[in-house]
């Protein structure tokens, strides 16, 4: 398929690997792939196996389902129990364990939870069920938010009264800043999320090389893309350069997609947001503006939830910060599997634990120290 096959050339990926090896020399280099889709690709294509042992790839917080707080999941579960509610969501959210239950479990008990492929489907469900309240679980980053904002604008145009969004949308650059400020990790370079960047453009990362001297490369999702991005990062690191480069030029423009951003900020405004493992990051979320408040589930539909609790044995939070790896979790692969996930990082196919599990043929290096 065009735009895919030519970037899946194995021979090219291997040659890039040897270029990377000779460029990097002896020093230890730690790179973070921020986006969960990159994590999945890294494991699927065996990228870690191609790289020299002194390059360490860490997964970051870029898996929307993984970073969604238990409190949000508990709230979604509570809504699903209301008999006049139809809960609509992308499939990944259903299996995520909350504090006491999951949407999947509530479905088996009769809750009306429907998996949709797009917000267009959710709107259609609302139109077909005007006597019920239809709530869409708004989880996702810059890539997904325009599609949710569009649905709210559409509901508004049509004067719909039964469509609501429970928003836990998040923004990537503030999370990268929080990791850098947290100081738990020494990150030598970021592989920046390609599809988030189709919307944001590349300028949103400029503060990272400028303020932290850490190079950033926006990358596509095929093996050649990722290897090329790593090569560029290693080149910058060994030469003492720090800048934002764009490997994914076929899809990412410097200015991003201004039309999509206009739609986002028509409907949403920045707000503080709670990230699993990281905590509340200032201005890292998006809440529905006053003007569209009638589509905000929280503002319109009362729900009570008990205090949220984390599974004390799940280290998903630390994994999302890049400070631990799945093999350090005692539940990994035994009690926690994609079929029976105990934590969010095992649910989504782009969750780090799921990626390690699904592509286990390529076991990662044990972390040092």
């Amino acid at each position: 398929m065009k735009y895919l096959d030519e970037f899946r050339n194995k021979a090219a990926a291997k040659r890039l690997a040897s270029r990377i090896s000779s460029e990097v020399g002896e020093g230890e280099v730690t790179l973070m792939e921020v986006c969960g889709t990159h994590t999945m690709a890294v494991h699927r294509y065996g990228i870690k196996g191609l790289l020299p042992p002194n390059i360490r790839l860490l997964s970051g917080p870029g898996c929307p389902v993984c970073v969604t707080s238990n409190r949000y999941i508990d709230k979604a579960i509570a809504y699903s129990k209301q008999s006049d509610v139809i809960l609509t969501t992308f499939g990944d959210m259903v299996k995520v364990p909350g504090s006491r239950s999951s949407l999947a479990r509530e479905m088996s008990r009769g809750a009306d939870v429907r998996i949709v492929y797009s917000t267009t489907d959710a709107l259609k469900i609302a139109r077909d069920n005007t006597e019920r309240k239809v709530i869409f679980l708004g989880v996702g980053f810059e890539t997904t938010v325009p599609t949710v904002a569009t649905s709210i604008l559409e509901a508004d145009r049509m004067g719909m009264k039964n469509y609501f969004v429970l928003s836990a949308h998040k923004l990537i650059p503030p999370a990268m800043k929080a990791l850098l400020d947290g100081g738990e990790l020494k990150i030598d370079g970021f592989i920046c999320p390609g599809h988030v960047s189709t919307i944001t453009g590349t300028q949103v990362y400029e503060f990272i090389p400028r303020n932290y001297r850490v190079p950033c490369v926006v990358a596509g999702f095929e093996p050649v893309d990722i290897m090329q991005a790593i090569y560029t990062l290693v080149q910058q690191i060994t030469r003492g350069i720090a800048e934002v480069a764009n490997q994914y030029r076929r899809a990412v423009r410097k200015e991003g997609n201004p039309k999509a951003r206009e739609v986002i900020y028509e409907v949403f405004e920045p707000s503080d947001s709670d990230w699993r493992g990281i905590g509340v990051i200032p201005q890292s979320g998006l809440m529905i503006r006053q003007r569209y408040r009638k589509y905000d589930a929280e503002a319109n539909i009362d729900v009570e939830i008990e205090p949220s609790a984390e599974n004390p044995r799940c280290i998903c939070g630390a994994i999302l910060r890049g400070v631990k790896e799945p093999l350090e979790c005692t539940l990994f692969g035994s009690l926690c599997t994609p079929e029976h996930p105990k934590g969010a990082c095992m649910v989504s196919s782009e969750g780090t634990c799921a990626a390690y599990y699904n592509y286990g043929r390529q076991m990662p290096k044990k972390p040092e120290g």
Binding site: E6, A12, G36, G62, T143, T144, H195
Partner: protein, 73 residues
């Protein structure tokens, strides 16, 4: 969840496009992009086209790549 794939637009009816990928046709919402033409490749995420693919840039990336790895055996 940020999974998105390149799809070729084969029909367009206002903001609704029909895309084709690997012989399968599916509906694509085009309202987040200006002037998508039939024959264009777009990146589709959750039913919406979020960006057009740029053929020249793709060729450029590949030629950079072949420059980079030529000379190796």
């Amino acid at each position: 969840m940020c999974l998105a794939i390149p799809i070729r637009i084969v029909e367009r009816h206002g903001i609704v496009g029909i895309g084709e990928v690997g012989g399968v046709r599916r509906q694509v919402d085009l309202q987040l992009l200006d002037d998508v033409q039939i024959g264009d490749y777009v990146i589709v995420h959750a039913g919406f086209a979020i960006q057009k693919l740029d053929e020249e840039e793709a060729a450029e990336t590949l030629s950079l790549l072949s420059e980079l790895i030529s000379g190796d055996s």
